[in-house]
Symmetry: C2
Amino acid sequence: MTAAPLPESQRRAPSGPEHLLVRDPLHSLFWRLPEGVTLVEPDGVSPGVTFPAGLLAGAAAAGLKPSGKPDVAVLSVGSDWWDTVTSAAVFTSNAFAAAPVIVSQRETSPSKLSAVVANSGSANACTGQAGLAVARAMQAACARGLRLEEKRVGVASTGVIGTLPAADRVQAGIEAAVRDMTADGGGRFLEAIMTTDRFPKACALEVVTHNGVVRVGGCVKGAGMIAPGMATMLCFVTTDAVLTPALARSMLRREVGRTFNKVSVDGQMSTNDCVFFLATGASRVYISPAGAAQLGAAVRALLQRLALMIVADGEGATKVMHLRVRGAARDEEAMCVARAVANSSLVKTAMYGCDPNWGRILSAAGAELAGQSLGRTYLEIGGLRVVENARALPLAAETQRMLREVMARSEVDLLLHLGSGRGREEMYFSDLGHEYVTVNAEYTT
Amino acid sequence: MTAAPLPESQRRAPSGPEHLLVRDPLHSLFWRLPEGVTLVEPDGVSPGVTFPAGLLAGAAAAGLKPSGKPDVAVLSVGSDWWDTVTSAAVFTSNAFAAAPVIVSQRETSPSKLSAVVANSGSANACTGQAGLAVARAMQAACARGLRLEEKRVGVASTGVIGTLPAADRVQAGIEAAVRDMTADGGGRFLEAIMTTDRFPKACALEVVTHNGVVRVGGCVKGAGMIAPGMATMLCFVTTDAVLTPALARSMLRREVGRTFNKVSVDGQMSTNDCVFFLATGASRVYISPAGAAQLGAAVRALLQRLALMIVADGEGATKVMHLRVRGAARDEEAMCVARAVANSSLVKTAMYGCDPNWGRILSAAGAELAGQSLGRTYLEIGGLRVVENARALPLAAETQRMLREVMARSEVDLLLHLGSGRGREEMYFSDLGHEYVTVNAEYTT
């Protein structure tokens, strides 16, 4: 029921590209480091995917981006670890999945991937047989450069749908990216996969497990076309832990479900979404399925930070909302309500305007709950109760002042309790402002 | 496969508030008058709800709108027709339905309504028992003024959720609105229920039926919070035909389903949506259920025009899209796909930017069709095929020029054929531009 005073770090800064989650993550309301986990970010720069031992990354400018910036990237497990590596991946379920998604899903050894090649500047989606040929050519060029079997190379692309990366350029770029690979190439790798991102999104964590210290690294690209199930993005996660394929797979699926599947920028699931997870084994620290809690918590924290960075970037986003839905009849119902609120243009524009227009939250929720009697519903914004027993609470002047202060923050907490059961769910989402319109009205032209 | 040359009337005019559908409806691509039906609009002004015989309407400024503009309105069947009147109504299914919706649904004789009282400036939603008391007081004040039974008066409210119309002001306003009632009050009635609407939305039609000539009139308020099932709005439809209650009810439900339930501005269903239908019987022309086709077609045309006007207004909309989904496995699947595309912020902003970014259309559709193989999908924009067999077609320079011309129009036709079955559905939707953000970021504050 109380709002804390407003620290400088919490103030809304619509013109600044960097959200609290990026600048000062340990002071974000929405992110906590698990016990035994340390954030590694020397001079504020994250080493990203090459932080764990046994990884190399490199990039090159192949001319796919009109800007001439780097647009081809390779991430690889060092050849010393090709025998111990395990991997896992999850992909978009979009029926118009891009060619690289199809190739990565159908034409690789999913648990023995040792490298991933990626490009920006072209999504290679809706490109038919020609697109599949290019995706296969990318896989082959990377495998050739690394002297690795083709089926151990994943492929990812991002950019405009319906365009095809020029095969000769992308192959030359892959050769250059392979030559560029170093054990500290995580930053260059990330730079080459960014498109409309306003800032790099990477994270590196050191984890004390019962068997010893291991490292986790990751990076993601994505700002628009973000929705639960799964956020639209290319994501790469690495560790030097020794994992069984089954554990790598189950850990990735579970933690993606808890993080990326609970964020929304604009309710869109893309044709190109993928998350690759490579475990080199280079730490020689074996993580058993029974002893995987610490590593799992670290992977979750890492994915959560990357997911929240996507929301904070959110193509013009000025703030991030954390919506908790409680008291629904079932968890599934809570998820429907959370998605409806998080994807409501009216809620998102009100948040952009720092407007505590809670009526739009109830209206969006109520549209999903036809025929129910929800007379015990309450709603809190930043811990301030504004609705009780499904009706507006008269607010004292002091409460109204605090509410304005809460709404001006860059992180806003929303609690909607439906008062009808024990179903619960949560969602993180961004606001919708002028920059979203500007960015998205002129993306291809 | 061809795009007609671009007449002046089809050009996009982002700064003008009036869409072709308003200014020159007979030249809209999206609206056709059925045979035997005439549009009545002397000097370009529609007489609206009082066009049919036997209706009176009036309005007053009760001080609910800060602007001091009219905000209370009464529509009534003349007392000569209280015995012959039949009525019907449909309401929002939102679980947080407003007090006037609850009173109109539960505390009226739905087939014998003879009057409706409405206010703008306050939605009277999420207002608990106090809100129900105000809605009942509005009903009672209107009934008293008209010397009618209370249960024959419907109530409707629009405005900000969570606010309560001041009981004394609204009652005084209702008394003044009753005194203001005349047989040509349709325009004043409409003016008093408008909120963020940029232009009045009314329609009047004369219909030659097999039994004689009858009239249909209507008006609607609504621009934001518009979604299928049903568009967020207050809508009033009248006729002087003699109808049985069963026919009035079935006709209204069917035609609302075919019109309002197929438009979307921002995917929101409000707490206050309602459509009231009053048939005075004053024409003495009896419409039998078997002979209702002509009147049904006219009601559909009227509701379609009102629905399209809402989309064209669409809080900053610069254009209206007509999306036809064909070749889906089932009609329900076609509806899911149509809604996903129509509600996609990425599609809507691309349309605003006149950007034929069809990849976003396929991506939004594909997200609803997980696991399906849709290799025969094609997409046409304004009759120009841009996707065939689920992949981008190379477009000749001339086709690209025509595509730019099509995208610059104020009405854009989209045909998405999934090539997998016979399921079909359609949807009309608006684009999403800067004015939407401006209007909705600052609605309550």
